[in-house]
Symmetry: C2
Subunit: 120 residues, 2 copies
DNA sequence: TTGACAGTTGAATAGATATTCAACTATAAT
DNA sequence: ATTATAGTTGAATATCTATTCAACTGTCAA
């Protein structure tokens, strides 16, 4: 697990080391992305983009079983990316905050520009 | 893999279905996040934040072996998140485009605001 | 041309994770 | 009360993936 080589450019490395982010923060950031790194969860974010939906509607839209959908909804909720509201037998899910939307938009741009550059 | 329940709110679902993103795009977006969803790769993005670095310097900064670092650098390069430049024996890596920086900043805000709300 | 160093690579392994399945709770309707 | 429906949950499994290891390439210097 330890580094197996020597630092080559000491001055550059020392400068970088000064402003490196806290390891715990970087871990939480990676976890934030992990929540978005699965296509099922990405589809869920997409269908919730303009408003709340119940579990059955989400399942139908993304074409997954209720169980699989519910597992991923729990994951997204635990990660604070979506929130829920219970009404009778149904549970409505919606996006939690503006960061989710912002990040979604940027990654969409990233993908689309990439495809344009490659003409595909 | 198929949905095991009925659509409950047909009008809402039909509206959502009209503007759902292409499945292929959503998959590519998820892959973009997957590239950022690992703490080692997140550390690499972090150390490259202000400029290019060679593999040994990166390895030292993130405290991983050259081999493990190189594998992850290849992953990030294949995903178009970083680019490389060879000079003599050394290979210098740097961030590929503004989207990486933008997304990095937003997720950092997301994590920091979250921590503030919970006082931790 | 030999040795040393920077970096890459493929296979193997150990650990993580998405989906399935079956059983479960909670609410509403008859 | 009973039944049906919406949703949740835990365990199991099959797949994926990060790191290690050893062998490799390419470049420079002596």
């Amino acid at each position: 697990m330890d580094c197996d080589c020597e630092i080559i450019h000491h001055d550059v490395v020392n400068n970088v080391r000064k402003r490196i982010l806290n390891e715990k923060i970087l871990l939480l950031m990676a976890d934030f992305y992990k929540a978005l790194s699965d296509s099922t969860r990405m589809k869920i974010i997409d269908v919730l983009y303009e408003g709340e939906l119940c579990v059955c509607d989400i399942s139908s839209l993304i074409n997954m079983t209720k169980s699989a959908t519910s597992h991923q909804l729990k994951y997204l909720k635990d990660m604070n990316l979506i929130k829920s509201r219970k009404q009778g037998k149904e549970v409505f899910y919606s996006l939690a905050d503006k960061h989710v939307i912002q990040v979604f938009e940027i990654s969409k741009l990233h993908i689309l520009e990439d495809r344009n550059e490659k003409n595909c």
